[in-house]
Amino acid sequence: MATFNVQVTIENKPGISDPEGDTILNDLVLKGTHKTVSKIKTAKMLKFTIKEKNKKTAESKIQEICDELRIYNPVVSKITVAVFDA
């Protein structure tokens, strides 16, 4: 068994409005001199530390936990799972 750090990013699915991201873009970034930015999306990240056999089992275990416990709401959100060596 090895220890892995797993980052789970929870963000809105495409088409679900993100007023916080829009506000940061329109009322902060684009009001300055940074005109090349076209999109900002807010997200929540959970950082897990987990003991598993390998990266693959760590990823599938975390995905299973997120699905089973509704860590994200599949109606409006999606997750991306990234695994790193601890």
Partner: protein, 226 residues
């Protein structure tokens, strides 16, 4: 008639609800801690408002895993009237007892104000004393109250008559201005506004009678005469 008021860590409208049930409508109400089970002889269950688990992760999602939810699911299948108010609505949605999801208000603000509801379904145990499209002046108090469903689900909700309350005007960006929905059977109802804060004339500056009909509907459904 015995009404259970479920208490989660962080519930803060449980006492208001209990007060209204017992002092205003003379019902036999009892608190049930979320780790306990519900007795078999209970006639209705109310999940009150508040901030269960401090809204951590997402409003209602952690409470939706509480042991008592399994009992509530069984009661829902049996047709027992269940009402979720505000955080109670969020918990019912997160536990899969009601469709949709409640997102942060479009303004991103915590909204505490009087709204007007329109009754869209007067067949539920909590709305049977209303006429269709009756108006209810009632307060909201939430940060995550924007009801969202996709277009296909919205069509289904309309078809199955699951939209119970709509706001009379745009309040927080909810899909179709929805403020409350029910399950397909109609016995499980969730609503964001707070009827327990609107049934007494002392604290309702507009009209307390419409909100009272929510509780009177339940009493009629259960055959209670006060």
């Amino acid at each position: 008639m015995k009404v259970g008021v479920v208490v989660f860590p962080g519930s803060n409208c449980d006492r208001d609800m209990y007060h209204v049930l017992t002092d205003v409508f003379n019902l036999d109400a009892q608190y049930y801690w979320h780790e306990k089970s519900l007795p078999k002889n209970i006639d209705a269950v109310i999940l009150p408002g508040g901030f269960s688990y401090g809204d951590r992760l997402r409003a209602g999602v952690i409470a939706a895993h509480s042991p008592i939810i399994k009992d509530i699911q069984k009661m829902a299948e049996k047709g027992i009237p269940i009402l979720g108010v505000c955080n109670g609505f969020q918990i019912l949605v997160e536990s899969g007892l009601l469709p949709g999801v409640l997102l942060k208000n479009e303004s991103l603000n915590f909204m505490c104000e009087w709204t007007n509801l329109i009754v869209e379904n007067n067949k539920t145990p909590f709305t049977n004393q209303f006429k269709l499209h009756d108006r209810i002046p009632i307060p909201i108090a939430n940060g995550e109250g924007r009801y969202y469903v996709d277009d296909d689900t919205l069509k289904q909700l309309k078809k199955k008559n699951q939209i119970v309350f709509r706001y009379s005007q745009v309040v927080n960006g909810s899909s179709n201005r929805i403020a409350g929905v029910c399950n397909q059977a109609g016995n499980v109802v969730g609503m964001m506004p707070h009827p327990e804060r609107a049934v007494e004339s002392e604290i309702n500056p507009v009209d307390n009678k419409p909100s009272s009909l929510i509780f009177e509907s339940l009493m009629v459904k259960m055959g209670v005469v006060n």
